[in-house]
Subunit: 340 residues, 2 copies
């Protein structure tokens, strides 16, 4: 005998029967409608409590055309691209704000590569959620554009300059990269730099690379590009054969760590001979030896803001062009790997 404890509990009708009034009266009583007598209200409350009544959200959603839930969409591509930790910070922020708004959070990862964003659009159109947060996807991913155009409440996490009509929350990657690189040059007198980039079909990787070269040009030092993919392994590989450098700026901490490890295997000392700076500060950079100087990205705060904006959107608050794109400040966290 496997089953069927009628797990789903009491309904309004059960309460109505018990109290001896109509279903609508019960509904109104529970919502504290002024036209229901105090006597009745308290009886309804009592019985509801006894029966362990919990409103059925399908019924409610159907009637109200509102799900009281938001989706956190994670393009599968970025699941590889971003480390686990980034996502945790995002999740923490999203759930916190969702809780404040009495809403649930759905995690929407891609079932398989071929479906692309279609799966997400289905989730959104199904009425299961009222809106969604999309974490940075590849610039080549035109599904994001489709989602934006669909007009469903949507907030993007990251920068999408090619989607001006979207709502987004991000940081100024280019300026941040400029600052990090300048730190190597100005504070540590480094003159022969390399940048280990992320995958260049991601906006963050593009911007960080551009910021690096901005700094190279501004300070008139030498700088070269090494291609990475945000993975530790790619950071290590990038510096495999590199010679005559005294500074590395990696587009994230994983690659900085990979590079640092490999350089030390090659008997090059960090930070004595080579200064290294990473990006993100999602956890890794603090625990390595030496610890990694990095550009701190306030991921949780970005997520909170994005989610707050999403709830604004859902409740119909107008968003002006001016505040469609929010940029949060970042700050350089100096640690051992640069020589500070």
């Amino acid at each position: 005998m496997a089953s069927s404890t009628k797990a789903v509990g009491a309904t309004l009708r059960d309460i109505a029967k018990e109290v001896g009034i109509s279903v609508s009266a019960v509904s109104m009583a529970l919502r504290d409608h002024p036209r229901i007598g105090p006597e009745t209200k308290s009886r309804v409350m009592t019985v509801a409590e006894q029966l362990g009544y919990v409103p059925n959200s399908a019924g409610r959603a159907l009637r109200a055309r509102k799900a009281d839930a938001v989706a956190l969409i994670v393009p599968n591509t970025s699941q590889h691209v971003f480390g686990h930790t980034y996502f945790m910070h995002v999740l923490t922020g999203v759930t916190a704000v969702a809780n404040d708004n009495d809403a649930q959070v759905m995690i929407s990862t891609n079932p398989d590569e071929s479906h692309g964003m279609a799966a997400y659009e289905r989730v959104m159109r199904s009425g299961r959620v009222d809106g969604a947060i999309v974490t940075s996807a590849a610039v080549t991913d035109n599904n994001v554009e489709r989602l934006v155009r669909s007009g469903l409440p949507l907030v993007l996490l990251g920068n999408f300059p090619y989607l001006p009509n979207s709502i987004s929350v991000g940081i100024d990657d280019r300026a941040a990269a400029f600052e990090a690189t300048s730190h190597l040059i100005e504070v540590h007198q480094r003159r022969a730099l390399v940048h280990i980039s992320g995958p260049l079909d991601h906006q963050s990787a593009i911007d960080r690379r551009d910021g690096f070269f901005d700094a190279i040009q501004t300070h008139d030092v030498t700088g070269h590009l090494l291609l990475g993919d945000y993975s530790e392994e790619s950071g290590a590989r990038a510096v495999e054969d590199v010679t005559d450098i005294d500074g590395v700026f990696a587009a994230n901490d994983e690659m900085a760590f990979g590079a640092m490890t490999r350089l030390r295997e090659r008997e090059l000392t960090v930070p004595a001979e080579i200064s290294i700076i990473g990006f993100d500060d999602f956890g890794l950079s603090r625990v390595t030896t030496p610890s990694i100087t990095t550009m701190h990205v306030p991921a949780e705060r970005m997520a909170r803001l994005a989610t707050e904006r999403l709830f604004d959107l859902v409740s119909g608050v107008a968003v002006t062009q001016a505040d469609a794109h929010v940029t949060l400040p970042v700050n350089l966290v100096t640690r051992g790997s640069c020589g500070c």
Copy 2:
């Protein structure tokens, strides 16, 4: 002008009107019912495609009494207790299996301390999800017991010996701790050990402590208990004033790292003078210097298994007493911190 693109799309009725048949016929056509003509079916498909029809899940859930979604419940207490990384592994496993079952995943964190498990029970009873995975909660948290007793489909992640009627997926923490401790004694000849425990209102912390003392007794060496709370800081604090030891077994990697860092600040060398072993292997232990020998916990696989069992439960597959509690094997990953 803020709003109202009638974001929620076409319904069965729209298709019915367009094709010129009844709503039920459309529904049947879309579900490929044999009693609907091929001609009609293809017309329905075409129009559905054109209109971008997506079934409304509230309507469906209401009718089918099934949400096609599962919840991942994270007691807020354990959000502090477990590092971010553990949760990521779990989430990866859960979403993968949920995707395979065409189900969505809801993240349910606790809105505030006072509500306790009531919030989760609400989520489950609301019909929003068909079942839930609960990650290890404190043994003192009787809300878990309530949830188990409620009879709703539920799989616990971790060990709950005091809830024999539950379904759970875990590891043998005690045996694993015994093995880790024995490694310090047998392989590295350590004779004066300490155990930095997790918070002892968590079953995993209790079992790991017990396994430690099992090994101490079996091998007849000295062993002392230092209380921690699974945080890096607590690991550091634990070994602040400790003297005359040559081995540390920490109940997780964060504490092992904290302890290692503090011991080295105290000019004690790891692993030359003191061997350290941690627990979990969720990421941290691999990247420190020295890297930390640890007991690898297959969190993602546990999560997958738990979720698969949950879907069994939801679909009414009977679970016998014999396979109610699954225990997965763990393995010691030897790294630098023990001297290997």
